[in-house]
Amino acid sequence: MNTVLVIQSLISGIMMGSVYALLGVGFSLTWGVMKVIHISHAAFGLLGAFLAYTLLKAWGLDPILSLGVSVPLLFILACVIYRFLIAPITKAKEVIVASMIVTFGIAIILENVMLLIWSPDPRLLTTSYTSKVLILGPLYFQYPRLAGFLMSAVGVLVIHLFLKKTYTGKAVRAAWQQREAAQLYGVNLKRISMITFGLAVASAGAGGVGMAFLYSFEPHAHNIWLIYLFLVVIVGGVGNVIGAALAGLIIGVITGLSLAFLPYQWVNLLTFGLLMVILVIRPQGLFKGEV
């Protein structure tokens, strides 16, 4: 076996994994804090990717800079959706099922709106640095992947610090761990849930841009992305930010290594098979921990 190839695959795996982590963190939070399994999370990520694509085509705006536009936009959109579609079902008898079906409905709507606006053609984020490569000895780093990696690392770190350091973030964690107690201490659950949902969707938009750096995308792509989300949450543990980050990296490395040695179409199958095995053995996730 070729050592350079293995190291190279490890590196590209870590880069991919960081993007999975950013895409998955918000999904994990909504599930953990709100008990909502947000099926349209990946579709919002895809919307972020398409927004970046359009901003790049129209104004030549760099995909990472375009987050300055798309992230607030997605945050507001998510808050509106939370208020009118998610909040009413959090009181239902079966929140999980209700949330899965309602958000599946949202995913269908988003997918078809994207089909109408952007057509089913596969797209690529082609920037000035798309084909540029950084070469360090025998190893090489593609610039778009580096960009995606840095963006994702910063994104996950920001979410982590937000939860640990800010008052609102602490309230989110409190709401997750001790719902009743948090309410007694004056935590406004509705407001906290709305912020959590908004943040999650906004971070999905950024994660979607990261995915667009890695792969071509079209309006149906969110279905496959969704399985990656489940992987991140199940491996990392529901509601666990650090767990999600680690899970993303593990999945990325597994994907990276298997991509080097397996035909492409078998890689997804292997990863998803792994998901089922982990679910059966350890549904609570591989890592112990909290938000």
């Binding site: 599930w31 399994i37 079906i101 269908i108 997918e111 199958l269 098979g273 089922m276 059966v280």
Partner: protein, 320 residues
């Protein structure tokens, strides 16, 4: 007691008249479109009623039931191609196709049914994806090109009518099973599991065994229906027979009608299939799907406990 007896006799009479009317319908020379429409309705009644056995009665919400449908479709397709079956035997081959689907359900149910609540939903959801990807990657199953089947050498009206009758039979069998289970000890055991699995265990209910049995049964009929559907379409492709949309639709239909009763999924399947067909006939495909997505949301938000409960509640509010 007397009134219950009267009520079920009434149901029986209405049911028999309905079945007889449906059975003669295709031979009265209606346009093929209506035969196909009713075929689709029957198909979804089968899927939703079967799902209800594990989802509605036992409370184990399978979000990947399309897998069994697709497995049945491919099983029949492969049997027909591999063994060169005649039309008659192809239709009968949907029985072993159903058995294969049920066997798969037993194999994956054994580990998966230990998971509860959202985890069961997630693992079944992913299972359907895994099967879909697996089929796409296997060249002997036609891979991403799909599988063509030879149709019968008959006029289209005749073919559709035969398929219609076959699906009608499968639907009646599924409904009868649902009715029987809702009144049997087996069904009572499943409902006890839904209520509280630990308590059910202490009441000498063998929960793991009951769950596996219910799961296998709930996979058998979709497998059969898949086999018939494959022969009906004469073309199977993973994107058609493993479409996630079908999985979710089944859940929604059962919940829309009200899970946990045998009648609920039938109402849900009939109403939602007709709405879907109506939409895709009159509106552009994307727009139809957008409206349909909105319907998913609306159903859950406005009637979280199903349409039957919705009307009952409305009635109670009026009278009380």
């Amino acid at each position: 007691m007397d009134s219950i007896g009267k009520k079920s006799t009434g149901f029986l009479v209405v049911g028999l008249i309905l079945v007889a009317a449906l059975a003669v319908f295709p031979w009265l020379g209606p346009p093929v479109y209506f035969i196909s429409l009713l075929f689709t309705v029957f198909l979804y009644v089968v899927l939703a009623s079967s799902w209800n056995l594990i989802g509605g009665f036992a409370g184990y919400l399978s979000f990947g039931h399309v897998a069994f449908f697709g497995i049945g479709a491919y099983a029949t397709g492969m049997m027909m191609k591999g063994l060169g079956l005649s039309p008659f035997w192809t239709i009968l081959s949907s029985v072993p196709a159903g058995i294969i689907a049920a066997l798969v359900a037993v194999i994956i149910g054994y580990p998966c049914l230990r998971l509860r609540g959202p985890y069961f939903a997630v693992i079944t959801f992913c299972f359907a994806f895994v099967v879909d990807l697996g089929v796409k990657n296997l060249d002997i199953l036609g891979g991403p090109e799909g599988l063509w089947l030879k149709s019968m050498d008959l006029p289209i009206h005749m073919i559709r009518s035969i398929m219609f009758e076959v699906m009608l039979v499968i639907m009646i069998l599924t409904i009868l099973l649902g009715v029987w289970i809702s009144k049997s000890r087996f069904g009572a055991g499943l409902m006890a599991i839904k209520e509280d699995e630990e308590v059910a265990q202490t009441m000498a209910i063998n929960a793991p065994k009951l769950k596996i049995q219910a799961f296998a049964l709930s996979a058998f009929f979709p497998g059969m229906a898949g086999g018939i559907y494959a022969y009906y379409l004469t073309y199977i492709h993973p994107d058609i027979v493993f479409d996630v949309m079908i999985s979710i639709l089944i859940v929604l239909m059962a919940l829309f009608g009200g899970g946990g009763t045998w009648l609920g999924p039938i109402i849900g399947a009939v109403v939602l299939t007709l709405v879907n067909e109506g939409l895709s006939t009159f509106v552009k495909a994307e727009l139809a799907r957008i409206i349909y997505g909105g319907l998913f949301i609306g159903v859950i938000i406005f009637m979280p406990n199903g349409i039957m409960e919705f009307f009952k509640r409305g009635h109670r509010e009026e009278t009380g």
